[in-house]
Symmetry: C2
Subunit: 265 residues, 2 copies
């Protein structure tokens, strides 16, 4: 387990978020933004994605050349420090190319034990959610403050978010539905923003599948720093992606996991 | 058809939006915000909804007592001018109580022929979309500018939004799916924000059902001022609610309507 100088690492993390913002905002809602397809399904990878990742890699090349990089667009780079920056330049690219405001940039710093700190950045809305190293706070258009999850303990009182029906196998959708059918309110399709809402004490559960490590490591750091719990659907680490459940507290997490684990075979 | 002094009416409309903003922002993400249920389904009506509508009614009582009011929370009020203010203090209340940022306030001024002007206001994001009386423009956190829809003419190139799967009968969902299956990209669950994105040239179609007049009159004004077309699923006026299709231009509107009309019986 590598030693983390949190003061330095938070400075680097904010520099990364600022560098990505400049690129993503410059192209957001720009006429003619090209959405290419990486695969047979529609998977837009825009120039903004790539420009934002390049800007972040430039920051790391100058400030932290000893650290590894795990990122969406340009692949992985080895390091010597035992620390890895895990970067998703635009989480929610489909929303970005449709002009919706809730796409974000995800930045995490991790070692072998998992994420040590993370940022969920919302450039257009001008919000930044930060967690890790004894820090759990946000800045937003109406001011900032601490992040703290809420104490909901019954599924019947829970607000549940997911990206389903867009992502997941039939069995995974059934697992989500089994939890959602008991919840007070279900909302869809906010990508990383849903995790920021768990950390903000607004939402109780986020249930997802088909995740990459760079989709979930920053949310893990932010949600857990705010008092929540994030695991896979069997209670293990979600840091390498796949299925994830983020909960506002251990009690509601256990109740969701009891259901989801039946669909995780 | 009543005569409309657009200079005066735009001043009133902005005063209404400003008055509602103060109330909605004061309670947004506040701890313990009570979500009551108006019906057997979960339909949160918060104090913020009611406070925002009261604030707007106070503005109208002072500035336009001769106009009628059609609004969500406190019902309708007759007028003598032939003009009606159509108000939805919080469109997207479910999103509001879940802490998501894309809820909005909808304000329209209408006469017998339909909406003459409208505002889609986004208080938290600090965006305001305005259309009617030779005006089609927006202000936002990154600046402002004109609103203009785009020229997409093929469904296979279209970005489609809806609030389905949450709203609509099985037949209505089938109608939406018949259009969505031909589209390039489908997104869910943005409430009134989706119409602002049509007006902004980001989205080609919004397809909805189960609407109230106060859900759709401001979007009609904003989308049509920006060059789009809004009708019901049979090509008639959507101003009284029910099913609606908003399109970026007449060509893509006709193609969507050709499909949707088969499901509108």
């Amino acid at each position: 387990m590598a030693t983390v100088d949190y003061d330095e690492m938070w400075r680097v993390a904010h520099d990364l978020a600022d560098a990505a913002r400049s690129e993503t905002l410059a192209l957001f809602r720009a006429p003619g933004l090209t959405a290419e397809s990486k695969s047979s399904d529609y998977d837009p990878v825009t120039e903004a994605d790539r420009a934002a990742e390049r800007a972040m890699r430039d920051v790391l090349a100058k400030q932290r050349p000893q650290d590894a990089i795990l990122a969406e667009e340009y692949g992985n780079q080895a390091g010597t420090s035992g620390l890895t920056w895990v970067l998703d330049p635009i989480d929610g690219t489909r929303g970005y190319v449709a002009g919706t405001p809730t796409w974000g940039t995800l930045i995490a710093l991790s070692d072998d034990s998992g994420p040590k700190l993370g940022i969920i950045d919302q450039p257009y809305i001008n919000e930044r959610f930060c967690g890790g190293g004894e820090r759990a706070d946000y800045m937003g258009p109406q001011g900032g403050g601490p992040l703290a999850t809420r104490a909901t303990t019954e599924l019947s009182d829970a607000v549940v978010f997911t990206t389903f029906p867009e992502v997941g196998s039939a069995q995974e959708r059934a697992g989500f539905e089994a939890v959602a059918s008991q919840a007070r309110l279900v909302r869809f399709g906010m990508d990383c923003y849903a995790y920021a809402l768990v950390a903000s004490g607004q939402v109780d559960l986020v249930i997802e599948a088909g995740l990459q490590p760079y989709d979930i490591q920053a949310p893990i750091a932010v949600v857990e720093a705010a008092g929540g719990v994030v695991t896979d659907w069997q209670g293990g680490s979600a840091a390498m992606g796949g299925r994830a459940v983020a909960a506002s507290n251990p009690v509601i997490h256990a109740k969701a996991l009891e259901i989801l684990s039946r669909f995780a075979g």
